[in-house]
């Protein structure tokens, strides 16, 4: 008798708990995972976002780092977790759309519940300020005149820096006449660009603030505000889908998240991104904010996954 009351009480409690999952969410701290080292660009962006996200959702939020394998280790680990909304990772275009198509990782396009996108910047191809190349036309004629002479760098195979180079040179049909020299990270590659061992490198606009580089082309749908003289990829003759390339990133939870929880997280993300504090942070750090809600981000993510397949093909990855 006593036992049965107890069990029925427990069942009742369990039932009530499952029904109230979304109502009570969040009832414990939320973990935002940076798939790269503490102190890197992604990590700091997330640490800048976390306090505002915490305020918006009304719970503790902490940032943890799970670095390795160009971000695939964190994504692979998250993919196997329970979709309870307490764990999300900030994934970039490469982690979420490129790596799963070139590596045998346990996640793919259907492994996620996209929550929101936070930032997106178009990439640029650039040379040093004292380089003889003033335009992409100069580059094409120089490469055709001396095939095999010119070298482009990247921060590693499959990185956004590599894909920028591939978009440009495959788009112009000269990639087979050039050499690719990958480095470990952007730092050494920029050093070799300054030293002259490589002639071309590509990344987002923020590197232009250094003042010693000259952009030749921007992979955006239109010219960017800061560089009105730099032509878009379409203008220099690069055809779709290689003509646009953005370094974007956003929050992803494992697939199968309850719609109510997704909605709460999405609302918190929107509030956090729009907060004065984060806007100021973004202005200081040169982050280009690009907010998309869950549904819109999902569609964008799937479209990117598709179109980046062409890029991977061109890169020979």
């Amino acid at each position: 008798m006593k036992l049965s009351t107890l069990t029925s009480a427990m069942f009742g409690a369990a039932f009530a708990a499952s029904a109230a999952v979304a109502d009570g969410f969040p009832e414990r701290p939320i973990n935002l995972i940076a798939p790269f080292n503490a102190g890197g660009g992604t990590d700091l962006l997330l640490r800048g976002l976390a306090p505002h996200f915490a305020e918006a959702i009304g719970s503790d939020v902490f940032v943890s780092n799970m670095a390795g394998g160009s971000g695939t280790v964190a994504a692979s680990a998250l993919q196997g977790q329970r979709p309870d909304g307490y764990q999300m990772a900030y994934m970039s275009v490469t982690v979420s759309t490129i790596q799963p198509q070139i590596k045998n990782v346990p996640y793919g396009v259907d492994s996620w519940t996209p929550i929101c996108s936070v930032a997106a910047s178009p990439t640029m191809l650039f040379v040093t300020a004292d380089s003889p190349f003033q335009s992409m036309e100069d580059v094409v004629s120089a490469v055709k005149a001396e095939p095999g002479k010119y070298v482009y760098g990247s921060s590693g195979p499959g990185a956004i820096t590599h894909l920028t180079m591939v978009s440009a040179f495959a788009g112009l049909g000269i990639i087979d006449d050039m050499k690719h020299l990958p480095f470990q990270g952007s730092g050494p590659a920029i050093k070799e660009l300054t030293a002259g061992n490589i002639q071309f490198f590509g990344d987002t606009e923020i590197l232009m603030k250094r003042g010693d580089f000259r952009p030749l082309v921007v992979f955006n749908s239109e010219r960017v505000e800061g560089f009105p003289d730099v032509p878009t990829a379409t203008e220099v003759g690069i055809a779709a889908p290689l003509n646009e390339l953005y370094l974007w990133g956003g929050l992803f939870a494992p697939a199968g998240l309850e719609p109510d929880v997704t909605a709460k997280l999405e609302a918190a993300c929107e509030g956090a991104v729009a907060s004065d504090g984060f806007q100021e942070f973004a202005a200081n750090s040169g982050t280009v904010i690009n907010y998309r809600g869950a549904e819109e981000f999902d569609a964008f993510f799937r479209a990117q996954y598709e179109s980046n397949a062409a890029l991977i093909e061109a890169a020979g990855l």
Partner: protein
């Protein structure tokens, strides 16, 4: 920059400046001295706090914690043979035998003085010669770096205590371990056997902590414990007297120069500098016969060089906006958050900030001496706990330290496995330092070799014909390999 020195000093001597310098250094020393916990974790702990600080204090806190933890790492390396970072691994080679001999305080004294001197000189070099040194860094392309790493690899021979064959074997195992994971040029996966956890390769720190700290625990568990009471006789740091320095200054200054130069080259790092400097000491020091058996020159070589790297690594960071190592990369990212884009004009545009960072770095190194002496006095009683408690705590701390390196429980398994393998190999007389050298230098060796082959269209000979620096370094590597053989032959013929 020198004209903004008064403003810079005003920042440093403000309340916030002083608190950051002292607390950061103390925290760094304490964290570094804990077995298994090293610079990576120390920096991760303070990073959130730097986000809410203003520019100069944020960078200084990172620097203080970093410099403190590198110095603290040598304390654990010497007293209990458990380096918290790869760069203290070379310090174990002579520091631990000295401690076992009952001279732990003096061993730490040598390490402290060498660290402080190495750090201070590198700070001075940084203040006065950063632009000149940065142009040296630009001379080092992939091919020159390859030759330098080749020279570094010859250290394996000099740190192979006991058998050279076994040392080389350990070195090869280390290099092999570093090839697991993504191929650096093509990105294809090697030796992962379908396990995505291995896509990132074996974590260097997990292996280092496993083969040094955990295997040390197993070694102690395997032998008869006679003195259960005390781990090591230690009452605090004993500074070496002036007379003891006679005949050792040349080695010290050489080590500082090596540390500075290697620190300037992006992507080589403190562990490389410590080992190359140790090998050079073993080649040229008048006391070379005692290396590996508790010779102070061995401690000095390693510690002076690994601390001088800190200043060296700031050179390309500040002069070119290119991070010299992992910690300077964090510093640059922190600057970016504060609206400062690192680049060649960094010093020109922010003279006061940079002057504050440089002078702050000098002061941090000055603080190491009194704070190190004070903390070691406070910590001495902890080392008197019974060995069993200490061994248990070491395993638990190592687990914490390795977990926070990449936030991945898989690295704990790697650490455990490395501990067992390290234990088995050490029992057979296979030294572990060469394994660490192999793992530290292996990735750069392969990357620069293949980058060089791309640049020369596959012509290996062109590495040396068109690159005089590479040729000199490669010849030096040959000499370093041949010298022990030549010495042995000469000894035989005169006998």
């Amino acid at each position: 920059m020198l004209s903004s020195l008064p403003d810079a000093i005003a920042i440093l001597l403000s309340f916030e400046g002083l608190v950051v310098l002292v607390l950061g250094t103390v925290l760094g020393i304490i964290l570094g001295a804990m077995p298994g916990i090293g610079s990576t974790v120390a920096v991760a702990i303070v990073l959130p706090f730097t986000l809410t600080m203003s520019q100069a204090p944020a960078i200084l806190l990172l620097l203080a914690v970093y410099a403190g933890s590198v110095y603290g790492g040598s304390i654990a390396a010497i007293l209990i043979n458990t380096p918290g970072t790869p760069q203290s691994a070379a310090t174990c080679l002579d520091g631990y035998p000295m401690a076992q001999r009952g001279e732990a305080g003096l061993a730490l004294g040598w390490a402290t003085v060498a660290s402080v001197v190495g750090g201070l000189i590198s700070a001075v070099v940084l203040i006065f010669a950063a632009p000149q040194l940065a142009s040296v860094a630009l001379e080092f392309g992939p091919i020159e770096t390859f030759a330098l790493i080749l020279l570094g690899m010859t250290c394996i021979v000099s740190v192979s205590t006991g058998s050279v064959v076994k040392g080389l074997l350990a070195g090869m195992i280390g290099i092999f371990l570093s090839t697991v994971g993504g191929d650096p040029i093509l990105g294809e996966m090697r030796f992962t056997f379908g396990n995505w956890q291995l896509f990132a390769g074996f974590n260097l720190l997990a292996v280092v902590i496993g083969v040094f700290a955990l295997s040390e625990v197993f070694m102690r568990a395997s032998v008869h414990i006679s003195k259960v009471s005390e781990l090591v006789a230690f009452n605090g740091i004993v500074l070496p007297s002036r007379a003891m320095w006679r005949g050792r200054l040349r080695n010290l200054s050489k080590s500082v120069v090596i540390g500075n130069l290697i620190g300037v080259l992006p992507g080589t790092g403190a562990a490389t500098a410590a080992f190359i400097s140790y090998a050079e000491g073993r080649r040229s020091s008048p006391n070379r016969a005692g290396f590996g058996k508790g010779e102070p020159d061995g401690i000095v070589s390693s510690e002076a060089a690994n601390n001088a790297v800190t200043g060296g690594a700031l050179v390309p960071t500040m002069a070119l906006g290119i991070p010299g190592d992992a910690i300077t990369a964090v510093m640059l990212a922190t600057l970016t958050l504060h609206g400062i884009t690192p680049g060649p004009k960094l010093v020109e545009d922010n003279p006061t900030l940079i002057a504050a960072i440089f002078t702050g770095f000098f002061i941090i190194n000055l603080l190491l001496l009194p704070l190190g002496m004070l903390l070691s006095r406070v910590a001495a009683p902890i080392l008197r706990v019974r060995e069993a408690f200490m061994m248990t705590a070491i395993v638990i701390l190592c687990a914490v330290g390795i977990y926070f390196v990449r936030g991945n429980p898989f690295d704990l398994l790697v650490m455990g496995g490395a501990g067992v393998v390290g234990f088995l190999l050490r029992r057979q007389g296979v030294p572990m330092a060469p394994l660490v050298i192999g793992m530290v230098l292996g990735p750069t060796l392969e990357l620069t070799l293949r980058q060089g082959l791309i640049l020369t269209d596959g012509n290996f000979l062109a590495f040396f014909t068109g690159h005089p620096i590479a040729l000199v370094l490669a010849l030096a590597a040959c000499v370093a390999l041949m010298l022990p053989v030549w010495r042995a032959l000469r000894a035989r013929s005169t006998a």
